[in-house]
Subunit: 190 residues, 2 copies
């Protein structure tokens, strides 16, 4: 069986805690679901924020819901450079020692002492898909993407959960490096 | 023999014709050499320009010398998106049908009807290095880069000339996708 997976590009985005939603939008505020994402229960919000580092601001950044126990800002390495922060390459949620930034909406802002990361490329699998593909949680695989800028991504981490749907996630730098336009499929290779 | 090559990241830059140097900087103006590049005779200039597309401006872009028969703007796909232009992936000098932009310095500007490209990844070889590596001009090879974001670039074009020095050139998106910090070596693989 050819082990094909849809390659999705994650643009820069922010996850917020309840406390930070209230600090930015007001007490009791609920984020507005705009669009469901490929991962079940995850959604893009109507609301947007600006993120600022020592060297610059990126305006109009998406917020992804639902709320999380810790706020997290996922940017590309290109973005990290314009912000002027050293964002480590990390799995989502692994924030210890990650970069600081300011998140703002109009005249309201919060200071994150840490939370800015460049997401480590990964594939979401259901347990059934993982079994069919012969991989298990935390496995590292290689994924080939065809085309004008064909390449093989190594160091792709497999994440398995019944809460997931099958999809590979890369950031915009990686997507541009591979010309991974929407609908691009990757193939897990040995 | 392990076929190792230094991986250099080309940040966005501009090449200008004599005519365009004069339009931007004045009659008879000579660009100021700031720093020699790895390719013999090529240099970065003290002078900088702004480049503008329908969606935005990127300020303070390097000019590389010497002057060329046709002006050319090399950007990453990330940059092309912020400019709002559809820049094709091309070898240097292959500009037919490439994207337009405005190049400006202060209140002086030139309109390029074409010239904006995303550079196709490539390796410069001297004829001697090409012979040692067993490649010829226009060959397509794969190059492995190790590290936290290890990957194998496919579709890397080999360019052979006695005017070159051995080096692989990738753009900033590709460099970020591979964590190709200065000094990173690539290995040509089968």
């Amino acid at each position: 069986m050819e082990k094909k997976v849809l390659v999705e590009t994650s643009a820069r985005h922010v996850h917020l805690t309840r406390e930070h939603v209230e600090a930015l939008f007001g007490a009791g505020y609920q984020l507005t679901r705009k669009k469901d994402l490929s991962q079940p229960g995850q959604f893009a919000c109507e609301e947007r924020v600006d993120i600022t580092g020592p060297k610059g601001t990126i305006k109009n950044v998406s917020i992804l819901g639902p709320e999380r126990p810790e706020s997290q800002v996922e940017v590309s390495a290109t973005d990290a450079r314009s912000l002027g922060v050293k964002a480590p390459i990390r799995e989502s949620g692994d924030l210890d020692g990650s970069a600081p930034c300011t998140v703002s909406v109009g005249d309201k802002s919060i200071e994150l002492a840490q939370g800015v990361i460049v997401a480590k490329r990964h594939i979401h699998f259901t347990p059934e898909d993982a079994a069919a593909f012969g991989v298990k949680d935390k496995d590292i695989v290689k994924v080939r993407v065809e085309g004008e800028r064909a390449l093989i991504f190594d160091e792709v981490i497999c994440r398995v959960s019944p809460k997931y749907a099958l999809a590979m996630h890369i950031d915009t730098d990686e997507s541009n490096a591979a010309c991974a336009v929407p609908g691009t499929m990757g193939v897990i290779v040995d």
